[in-house]
Symmetry: C2
Subunit: 310 residues, 2 copies
Amino acid sequence: MASQTAQKRIEGVLAPVVTPFRPNLSPDPDRFVRHCRWLLRSGCSGLAVFGTNSEANSMSVEEKLELLDALLKGGVAAAALMPGTGHCALSDSVKMTREAVRLGCGGVLMLPPFYYKGVSDEGLYRNFAEVIERVGDERLRLYLYHIPPVSNVPISLGLIERLLERYPGIVAGVKDSSGDWNNTRAMLERFKDRGFDVFAGSEVFLLENLRHGGKGCITATGNVNPGSIDRVFRNWRSADADQLQAGITATRKIVQEVPMIPALKSIVAHFGNDAQWRAVRPPLVELTAAQEAGLIRDLKAAGFSMPGLG
Amino acid sequence: MASQTAQKRIEGVLAPVVTPFRPNLSPDPDRFVRHCRWLLRSGCSGLAVFGTNSEANSMSVEEKLELLDALLKGGVAAAALMPGTGHCALSDSVKMTREAVRLGCGGVLMLPPFYYKGVSDEGLYRNFAEVIERVGDERLRLYLYHIPPVSNVPISLGLIERLLERYPGIVAGVKDSSGDWNNTRAMLERFKDRGFDVFAGSEVFLLENLRHGGKGCITATGNVNPGSIDRVFRNWRSADADQLQAGITATRKIVQEVPMIPALKSIVAHFGNDAQWRAVRPPLVELTAAQEAGLIRDLKAAGFSMPGLG
């Protein structure tokens, strides 16, 4: 394996960056780089590009590698990146993870292979172990991606235990998008003191996660509300932490009233004055005009803005 | 669009061909071609390569295209092939479908994009329509793949209606792996007289499907029991059809006692005397020795054999 580096682990607020598409639905590197740069100067400490909210699985490996390349050429620091690299196909996961490590990414966020359902922990263990062994690089920081409502393939505590025991230092943490605080708390209690960093999958759990030893959150609405979410991260020990948390939870609830991914894109399109941002790839569908109008009205009524965008 | 051809539609028994892997888990074209040739001379009228039972989603697009190339170079007729070409990523589905049509494949069997759950029929319609438009070839014969227990993304009757209305002749049929005969029957009643060919997803429903106007079955156990299943297809109007059907149903039930994909591979390994066939890619796991021993014992007790294999 390649030599170990002592790069600092990513903490704080990460956005699973929404992916802009051109009118022909090809990924748009220019808009992508611009949005990533805005996120990093507006409160995000890291970028979980190629996540669920990025429509990552609606893109080929080649399309994602081209976007990654554009980001680095656009001056985004690789250390701030935690790209999604988990695919159904072992060969795709290896290719994408290897490339992310080679480019110096701070970590990778890895879905389990999600086509077959009801698979065993033994099978999932073999998947992650194969990727780690084939990449064969001590610089790899692998964050497991637990999102059973979408993947339908959970990452159990037993699986984490086994991976952490075999690959300490490489298996670096988890994003818990179960929406179940009891599960996040169980992960924290069992693994937080073993070099395993727990990120909440929504800012709704950010303060609780930090109070129990978690490291931050990787959240859809980080795409549009990074400053306020980061304020909770930076001030979680302060007297007004609960009040700050209530504010970001309220904003989240407004966005959640409509389908999340097209909602995020509508918000970026509206506040950035750039209609092309509304494009989604099938099987997703953009918001209706009425849905978007209601969303924007409610956000504005709550004092929401995106300073410096567009 | 390219000129129309009058190629006969595939009917009868198709196997979703299991994919052999080498010790390093790379796909093994030589074993694959040998197995495909055995299937075609043993009762299969077509090969649904790259299906669920093929571990297709555990392979990259490139790995699948190499196997397809090996098949054609190995003398397998393209007209007998119905490769799986549906991926989560629109770009992957287009690439694979375009290549299948260019090579002259008899059809393609297309999964819906299966990462996002609870997506709308509008979004799924756009996915299939985009693939059809981008491939832009009248020779395309697209079979929809309805397998909600695995994909968790169903193909509704309303979606079929809309696609068939817009793309008659190209939208050619369905594989119904719902396991719900009422659903298969509803598809038959509504679409069978409109150039839409219904294949049962298991030979358990083969006779019923044929009696209601269906065209055959695409079935996992077609990999190991093609002759007996084909006998039902060829003799479905005969007096002993129910008895023949009972025989293949009984064999299916034995195989279903253990996980299907590793079971099929164990059977091929045992009866073909070729241990390497047992290899599966993660997240699947091969049968235990005890599971395999029980399976083979039960099959032999039922008089099962694989003449001409190995």
